[in-house]
């Protein structure tokens, strides 16, 4: 057994605290092991010891909503500049884009993500979905599967989604399956890619389908882009919906007589997880605090990042899709010449630093849980998002005073920093 030991570090605990300790990783299997077992049973030494000089060692970050990054748009089919190429080259270009993001995004501490596809022309789903199965390329973040945001969302809350492609589900589950099922993948088949479906229960046929969809092994239903009343939203949660897509955005504001989807944070029994875009733009810091204080254990930080998410990209006008263009101003992205926010350009590590500042937390631990342990719980992954023995050694080292990512490890191998 070849073992790497991290020492002199603060380990993120599942109760949102940091505990000084050591972490042992079997670098052949890429999993966390028990140092005690190594010592007393295998009677072996670690072959390498890394002194982290009192920085934080956290499970790698998990982003469940990311539309693209580094110039790659997960929702664009065929991929940019491949319109006239044969189909197999388009597929190769799409996968190359996915791999590019996976390889680069480790600099933000992200070790797993769900490429998120926004509302598409219906027949394009058949092209995209077969390409979005679980995927782990060498030295790169894991693609866990996909998050489909739309097309079963409310016209009134369409945000930047293209209105002509929004759909209703007059035949319930079969209308929905007819969009997401492809020749090689089915919603009902585990490990083919589906992880998260954002839908609006106020769209015809959706509310009636949530129970059946949520019962499928790999499907987590999220409420989003919706005008649902709090009663309808609460019923959806009882039926099995477990997430709210980018809380506060693309939903009615909190009204005390009908608090709508946001009102789920006041639910008496089941409170769903909720995504928060903590880029400092999409949600005011006070609103972040309100949501977090109401339901800290459900908070999940998402980037909702757009292709322009690239820590190295400059401000200005950039091409997007369908001939439309976006204006990037720091973390802000607008549809050109409008005030419509079109996703975010903040990375997940920036969101963690913002969250820590907004909630006046004494350490990064609470915010880190919102990007590690919580999303893993949402997706029911027991071997990611935590530092338990047996879990995958996808790890990130965070500077304890600045919150900057110092290094990232995938399956026990350093893929960023040193």
């Amino acid at each position: 057994m070849r073992v790497l030991k991290f020492t002199n570090c603060y380990l993120l605990q599942e109760d949102d605290s940091l505990k000084k300790g050591d972490l042992y990783v079997d670098i052949e299997r890429g999993v966390i092991i028990s140092g005690k077992e190594l010592f007393f049973t295998a009677k072996e030494y670690p072959i390498e010891v890394i002194d982290l000089e009192e920085d934080i060692l956290s499970p790698g970050l998990i982003d469940v909503q990311i539309n693209g990054a580094y110039g790659v748009d997960f929702s664009l089919w065929p991929p940019i500049n491949t319109e006239n190429l044969p189909r197999d080259q388009q597929i190769a270009a799409y996968l190359a884009g996915l791999d590019k993001v996976s390889a680069k995004i480790v600099e933000t501490g992200t070790t797993s993500f769900l490429p998120t596809i926004i509302t598409q022309q219906q027949d394009l789903y058949r092209e995209l979905i077969p390409l979005l199965g679980p995927r782990s390329s060498e030295n790169s973040a894991h693609v866990l599967g996909y998050h489909a945001e739309g097309p079963f969302i409310a016209h009134s809350r369409k945000g930047a989604h293209a209105p002509p492609f929004l759909l209703t589900a007059p035949n319930g589950v079969s209308s929905i399956e007819s969009v997401y099922d492809s020749q090689t993948t089915k919603l009902e088949t585990p490990n083919t890619g589906i992880k998260l479906l954002t839908m609006a229960p106020d769209v015809e046929g959706v509310a009636e389908s949530i129970g059946a969809l949520a019962a499928l092994p790999d499907v987590v239903i999220s409420i989003g882009h919706s005008d649902a009343t709090v009663e309808l939203a609460a019923k959806s949660v009882r039926d099995g919906a477990r997430f709210i897509t980018h809380l506060f955005n693309a939903m009615p504001q909190l009204h005390h007589r009908d608090p709508g989807v946001i009102g789920l944070l006041g639910n008496q029994v089941q409170r769903p997880f909720y995504g928060l875009i903590v880029d400092g733009v999409h949600v005011h810091p006070n609103a972040v605090r309100l949501a977090y204080d109401a339901h800290p254990d459900g908070c999940i930080l998402v980037t909702d990042a757009m292709p322009l998410m690239d820590p190295h990209l400059e401000d200005g006008i950039h091409d997007w899709r369908d001939g439309r263009r976006l204006l990037k101003q720091g973390p802000r992205l607008y549809l050109e010449n409008t005030k419509t926010l079109a996703g975010s350009a903040s990375s997940l590590d920036e969101c963690i630093r913002n969250m820590t500042e907004f909630t006046n937390s004494p350490s990064y631990a609470k915010a880190l849980s919102c990007a590690t342990y919580h999303p893993a719980q949402l997706l029911q992954l027991s071997n990611k998002g935590n530092l338990r023995v047996g879990s995958d050694a996808d790890l990130v080292v965070i500077n304890r005073t600045t919150g900057e990512v110092k290094s990232t490890f995938i399956k026990g191998k350093c893929v960023y920093g040193n």
Partner: protein, 289 residues
């Protein structure tokens, strides 16, 4: 027997750790006895010793690479991985922080299929590496050493022990305050196992242990205060803090304080080895009771 008195727990730890490091560094390996062999305790009294030993290791003042260790005891019925197991204690507080070879660190296995055999093998193993050079121990408020509670035979060897009800109650705080979860049995070295070591050091700190210190060194050897067996050991030392001396007579404290400096002078003059009883004879004449 020597009694060393220091101001507080951490000074006791520093003195003892420095002393042990010195012994390790002075050790001359021979063919029959190639490694320094150290007996080790768990508990709160030795923690400052472990802290200081780790510090000395980090500062390159001592290495445990060639040291063999034997721990005193372990519970029966909880896995090694249990946070309250003595395996966990030793790993978390000492072994994971120094360069000891995992193959050289021995702790009784409370999960063994045959516990009697486990205990016998432990004694044989100690014998096979040439015996223990220095056994470090702490005591309980009732003067017990390892799990040799009051009434244990002073001639005992490594064996299974049923824990006293008071010990179970005292330990409940480590097991969710649930008496049902506290192990009821343990494997422990015997009093004679400890006393067979060439040198024995007992740590006694805190006011609550003052009666035990007085009983053990000012009165006769007695199986109700099992640590009192050190009175028969040819090369033993008690290291106590001021609080632990509260029940001793003033004369006792003054006497031991006064001879500490004399001992130091003699060591400087003749070297420690010359003052120490001859190793072979000690081992051969391990206490007969």
């Amino acid at each position: 027997m020597r009694l060393i008195i220091r101001d507080d727990k951490s000074s006791v730890g520093a003195f003892t750790a420095t002393y042990i490091a010195k012994r390790i560094n002075e050790f001359k390996p021979t063919e029959d006895h190639p490694n320094f062999v150290l007996g080790l305790p768990t508990g709160s009294s030795p923690l400052p010793v472990y802290h200081k030993l780790i510090e000395l290791y980090v500062r390159d003042k001592v290495s445990f690479k060639d040291v063999i260790t034997f721990n005193m005891d372990e519970y029966v019925g909880i896995p090694k991985s249990h946070p309250e197991s003595y395996h966990s204690f030793m790993f978390d507080n000492f072994f994971s922080k120094v360069d000891i070879d995992p193959k050289n660190a021995h702790i009784l296995n409370g999960e063994a299929d045959n516990l009697v055999e486990e205990c016998e093998k432990y004694e044989e193993l100690i014998e096979s590496v040439g015996g223990i050079d220095l056994f470090l121990g702490g005591i309980g408020e009732d003067g017990h050493i390892a799990f040799n509670e009051p009434g244990s035979s002073l001639a005992s060897r490594t064996r299974m022990k049923t824990l006293a009800y008071d010990t179970i109650v005292a330990n409940a705080r480590f097991f969710d305050n649930d008496i049902q979860k506290v192990p009821r049995m343990a494997l422990t070295v015997g009093i004679a196992t400890v006393m067979s070591a060439r040198e024995v050091i007992i740590l006694i700190t805190g006011k609550h242990k003052a009666p035990a210190l007085a009983k053990s060194i000012e009165e006769g050897m007695n199986h109700m205060w099992t640590v009192s067996a050190i009175q028969q050991h040819p090369w033993a030392m008690v290291v106590a803090d001021e609080d632990a001396t509260l029940e001793l007579r003033v004369g006792t404290v003054r006497y031991f304080k006064s001879i500490e400096s004399v001992q130091a002078e003699q060591e400087l003059k003749y070297g420690n080895a010359a003052l120490r009883p001859k190793q072979r004879s000690i081992h051969a004449s391990s206490p007969r009771f």
